[in-house]
């Protein structure tokens, strides 16, 4: 069943149709929120709020955008708001190791440590960015969403997405510069 059909059924009062939408989008939304916040438990709470907000507001969804676009927008609004209230905590480096699966089948101890360090540094750098910079990076570089859809999610022109993304990547680079430089010297 397509998202559009699920939404139509939901708007007719078939609550069970919502479960299709939750199951289809839970991973994407959870990961977007998780990377915005850098905290697994906060991400679980906020992701739940995102879906419940969508459930409450689905009567106002007119279908002129994809459901996923609308859901991303709700997710980023919630995550950015929570990010602001967490401001001081966000500046600390947060451990994400308990939540992150390791992609290699049997990594050695040094690989595990190196990957852990990289992820923590990248997440810490994301936490330090302005929310709108983090948003555009996560939509484009983590979720691999095309520019035109990023523009619809953020409700800005494609040209602004491009310039904001470039600015955001430069900001991220400046926060990771010493780490990357050290890595290159070591090679």
């Amino acid at each position: 069943m397509s998202d559009a059909e699920c939404v139509r059924r939901l708007q007719r009062g078939e609550t069970d149709a919502f479960e299709f939408l939750v199951r289809r989008h839970e991973k994407t939304i959870f990961n977007l929120v998780y990377r915005m916040l850098g905290d697994y438990d906060e991400a679980a709470e906020i992701s739940q709020e995102v879906f419940l907000s969508a459930f409450r507001a689905v009567g106002q969804f007119r279908g002129d955008a994809n459901f996923s676009t609308w859901l991303y927008r709700i997710a980023l609004n919630h995550a950015s708001t929570r990010r602001k209230t967490l401001g001081i905590r966000q500046r600390r480096s947060m451990s994400i190791e308990n939540a992150d699966p390791l992609s290699d089948p049997q990594p050695g101890p040094s690989d595990v440590l190196e990957k852990k360090e990289i992820r923590e540094r990248v997440q810490s750098a994301l936490n330090q960015l302005d929310p709108e910079d983090a948003e555009v990076i996560l939509l484009r570089d983590l979720q691999d969403i095309p520019y035109d859809e990023v523009a619809r999610v953020l409700e800005i022109p494609v040209g602004t997405v491009k310039s904001r993304l470039h600015r955001a990547r430069r900001a991220l680079k400046s926060r990771l510069a010493s780490y990357f430089c050290a890595g290159r010297k070591a090679v």
Binding site: V22, R119, D141
Partner: protein, 82 residues
Amino acid sequence: MNCQEAQTQLSEYLESSLDALRMKSIETHLLGCPVCRAEADGLADCIQEIARLPIVDPPMGFAQRVMAHARVIEVKSSPWQS
């Protein structure tokens, strides 16, 4: 092409989303400019590291919990229930 012109287009260059002429101009500039080359390498590292972040599973039972809350909202908002 000067450094400023090259650097403002580096993000799009790294995604190969510029037209062929501009791709070639930047490529030529980068071959002769270590400063812009370093900037391009740093941006490429950032793009790569974000893309490599692992996909994390939501907590077990996440969808069921959301649906349980949704059904409570549904009951509360149904006029025939009040």
